[in-house]
Subunit: 377 residues, 4 copies
């Protein structure tokens, strides 16, 4: 009946945080309808979660492989799948859907190991399906605004990039589910804070500046007794073209909830953006007074307007930014469905971005093991 | 197939702002499915808008009366209707649906005249249907937090209430659609800024404090040449119990996008909240340092958590706050559908709140006409 | 030996707040040397305070009259006197010095009664001496910047003025010295918060906008049990030329330390300034993005630079703003000493400003007694 | 006649920024009287500057050596000297005064070379005179508050220190005097931004935390074409006891005026302070809401109150913080004059702090030359 994209979900059962986020994000702009799921690592939980979400009984699956096989055979099977499991499941799950031509919308980081990431890139190359990585912070309107301004040369050649992502929720030993897998190398991978949030910071810095990190020197710490992965990371960055940067990720910085912040300085100006105040972008043309550019307000341009629903002064937040990634994906999927080329303005994080994120984590870990020696990416 | 509440919409055609907001709000928590609409004042526009939204052809209506009559007869007709037209249509539209037992979710202000408001209250009293007014700012988690803290006595007996709602979008003559009806007494009613945003400020102050305005003295201005309704209003307030307040609404204050702000001071403490930074509430216990209470962060309680989806530091915004009103309404509607009593925590703005808003506008206009004499409400 | 202005002080003994402020302010730019004092209402305290300040024994006086008489006869007697007593002493003290041609730098409000204020104006008219009123907030560089911008038409014709001055230090009954005289009508005058801080707010609004208040309607409250003067005031303002405003002064608003704030909106733009963040001025040209103008930074002009000592980013504060009044006064005094006309840029609050402040307090009290009727000033 | 400390000054002629700052700082609390000066590198400018300041003709000197010799012989010669020249003069000047038992108040960094710094330490050890280094940011009340809270264990064992000091004034080639010597290795030393402001950041981090930097890895850049010293520096820090940190200094970050900022995170809490908003300290006890502690406000203790003159909400700024160093020095000098031990609360930056600053700069330069290898301090 509806034209909505038929969506499945792997992971995201009852007590998961990020699964619910993906579902809301998929609904906000009404491009998707969730119709199938393998929502948990155990069949019972998967069933209970599917029922709670109102999924048809026959489209609640015990596991992702079963779902991939059956949905691929259905006449109106899913066209896309959202993968929202812990990191170590991403690779195997994504492969099954890619293999069958089902588009993948996958949470970050791409995988739990660099080796898996590389294999997944190959799997994606062989597939006709699209692969969208939810580095959701690239969906914020003012992030798009900053990116467009830099691309237009408004701050000139970039010299310095400061990016940080401090949190405080792992300042002590924690054993609830969200914390447990993120601090477990088996499920999370080699990076702790670097993998969970450092990848976001790295991605955001590259997305906004258009630069890539050529090499880095990292000093990782695991401050909480017994912690097996880094919970704080200090990284120095060298970008192509000569820009230099610092990246700080932390899960042990009391007073910081989710304080991702990016500052970029060029020859002719500077830009600042903070995730916790996402509707505002601070712009200083060198030698002039600082401007506050607001979402949809004066000074904001098309790149931000595309990602925005409501007038300035009416805050959009995290879920809207996340929804923007889903809407970009929807435009690409519908274009593919219709045999058309998507609007060239459609931008979303790709599997290559995911690979670069895994290389970033790997380089951080290796650099730190060598006493912060420089590692090329 | 689905358990979602079947929703219709009156108004909200292609170029309307608030209709799109209502639709997103209705989707965020997945309690509603939009299935019918009379989306514009002309049948052609209504049809085009309905098609753009993917409504079934036979449920796109020429006008609200036709829709009310037909949907009431359908086996799976709409259970609720969102009314998102200019103010002067609210009364006639709402009456048709109330009459037929269809729940009404109506944009504010309640009507364009106090007389209509009073008639609508009577119509609602005769109806079995629920009436929900979208004073959406009451849906913000930290507004609920402030209300709960005041109810719990955390700032003591209230002395002073400062509420303001400045904007700048009508600083000059405007002729686009959103501006046109809001500055036209025929469609908007007797209040300009007082009706459009002053009612929000008044409602928010009362909702959070639990107080009612007993009398007011208002000095209204129409600064823009040719403007027929107030575009700036200065109001002094006297509340029951002895608290005093000031209310400022303005549409001619450059630099203010949508700067609703509430400050409440009691014998033992103070609270501050600003709509443009909605995830934060500032609390000062008298004689102690100011605390920053964040949505879902330390210090935030159940009343806020009920209205919140994601962890602290991940901003929720205007649409989520609006969605909270829809979700409260959904709980009430589903309880009604199931013959049950809704959870006592379910709170939403009612038709009585709407009537009080109309009385506020009427009092402002009358007071100002008498050189700011005190008017009892 | 030195060219410094020889300064005396009336009031400002050991435990006074504002006396110490005046002394620091007089030293910052090195234009004054404190050489005499009648520092307290009792000879013993005056002597002890004078000794603590290192004054010569023979220039520590028992009372202001003795000081005025003797200093006027000395060859190198004081050229100026700072009067920093409670309000009710201002008139009698100032008169003695004016009578003898000694310049007066007087704390605000001008006097404790309007009658005294009027008499003092006459006394000043008869005297050759200068009279400087320390409405110190007019000395802040960004206040000067705002004033210059408005005078230059950068926000166009003014429509709306919002000024507020909330504090919290009198939220409860207090009996320490600073509180005692400020809540005592015998020493403070008819206004409580209106006299102590409302006069600052009124003065600041007029100084920056260049407007005068033509009439006002005031609703005063004394919330703290037993309080004999207003501790909270809500005032609606009508300015010459058609601008309207609101003024709020409060000493019972927990969380507000000294939160004087001014917002001015004109046909073409808006300006905002807050005393607790004094080095920043927010400027929004209508239809453009908001600018942050910083003291001595880009966008700040000569009027601010005259009042500023150090580069942008190095905060200047309350004492420097206060010192600016002393330095303006010094320029005027030295010009007078040299028989010259002071630089036309020299601006300081005058006895006429003080009279207008007293008229403001008087009008507030009378209006409130008439249930907030409009009173012409 | 007066009990004030007799002060001389080396450097600080007419167009110098920091000399004027020292003079104001010395006056604010009235402990000093400037009585002699060798204010410039040329006798003519020195004389003109001295006359402009009202110094007695016979105490305006051609150079610092002449001044040291003559003042040491005078009965009422200077007791202390402020050295405010470019860095390369500090050593030779300070030595002359130390040799003669005249207390030295010296601007930072201590010298232009590490070798000079070491020699100066020896000279100071041989002298009876005090040596005070004006790392002025340690004089801010809320810096003292943070230090006292950390010493009292309020945030527990420190894990992470983030300190940054970005500016933008050298983003382009500049040739005015302040810029010229700061970018000239002959006069400034081996460090550009590291020496001029990195030393402040390093000193502040150590002062507040009570930790010392054990080793660092630095990546220095000179972005402006033709610049001979670093104008941007990225530094990773390892402190004694296991804490880690990052330090960023920059003079090419548009939008940053003087944005020194310190954040410290411990096992039980976090603290944040920013120089441009100096009256506020943000404190988060782990698991509780963030508190805003204000100068002299609730939650601020004795260490801050000692450094503060006026009530909360009345901003003190840079000059007052600088004056606090002068007042600490005055207490020490007067105690010495009186043969007493100063109050144990008296704290000021010492020559050892200056030596550590020079070691910091030297380590940064050496580390960067070795591709950011770790260097022990």
């Amino acid at each position: 009946m509806s034209n909505r994209i038929r969506l499945g979900m792997v992971g995201g059962g009852n007590d998961a945080f990020i699964g619910a986020v993906h579902r809301i994000a998929s609904r906000i702009d009404d491009h998707y309808e969730l119709v199938a799921g393998a929502l948990s690592s155990t069949p019972e939980k998967s069933r209970a979660s599917g029922q709670a979400l109102g999924l048809p009984e026959d489209r609640i699956y015990d596991d992702f492989k079963q779902m991939a096989i059956r949905e691929a055979r259905l006449k109106n099977g899913i066209e896309a799948v959202a993968i929202v499991t812990p990191n170590h499941v991403h690779y195997a799950a994504a492969r099954e859907f890619l293999k069958r031509g089902i588009h993948v919308i996958c949470d970050k980081p791409l995988t739990s190991t660099l080796a898996d990431a590389r294999k997944l890139v190959k799997a994606a190359e062989k597939s006709d399906a699209l692969f969208v990585l939810t580095h959701n912070y690239t969906g914020y309107p003012m992030v798009r605004q900053a990116r467009a301004m830099i691309a237009a040369g408004e701050i000139g050649k970039i010299r310095v990039v400061q990016v940080e992502y401090p949190q405080d929720w792992l300042s002590e030993e924690q054993d609830f589910k969200q914390a447990a897998w993120r601090t477990d190398p088996e499920r999370s991978g080699a990076g702790g804070s670097t993998g969970d949030i450092g990848t976001h910071a790295h991605n955001l810095a590259c997305f906004v500046t258009g630069l890539t990190v050529e090499s880095l020197a990292a000093d990782l710490q695991a401050f909480v007794p017994g912690r097996r992965l880094d919970d704080n990371a200090h990284v120095m960055l060298r970008f192509n073209g000569g820009a230099r940067g610092m990246l700080w990720s932390s899960q042990v910085a009391p007073g910081n909830e989710n304080a991702l912040r990016l500052r970029v300085y060029g020859e002719n100006g500077g830009l600042e953006w903070a995730q916790e105040d996402p509707n505002r972008l601070w712009f200083t043309p060198l030698g002039d007074s600082t401007r506050l550019i607001t979402r949809n307000g004066a000074g904001a341009g098309d790149a931000a307007a595309r990602m925005s629903r409501i007038p300035p002064g009416h805050p959009e937040g995290y879920l809207e930014g996340f929804a923007n990634i889903y809407s970009e994906a929807a435009q690409a999927i519908i274009a593919r469905r219709d045999g058309e080329t998507p609007d060239p303005d459609v931008v979303y994080p790709t599997i290559e971005d995911g690979l670069r994120g895994m290389e970033f984590v790997d380089a951080c870990v290796r650099s730190s093991a060598k006493n912060a020696a420089w590692i090329n990416l």
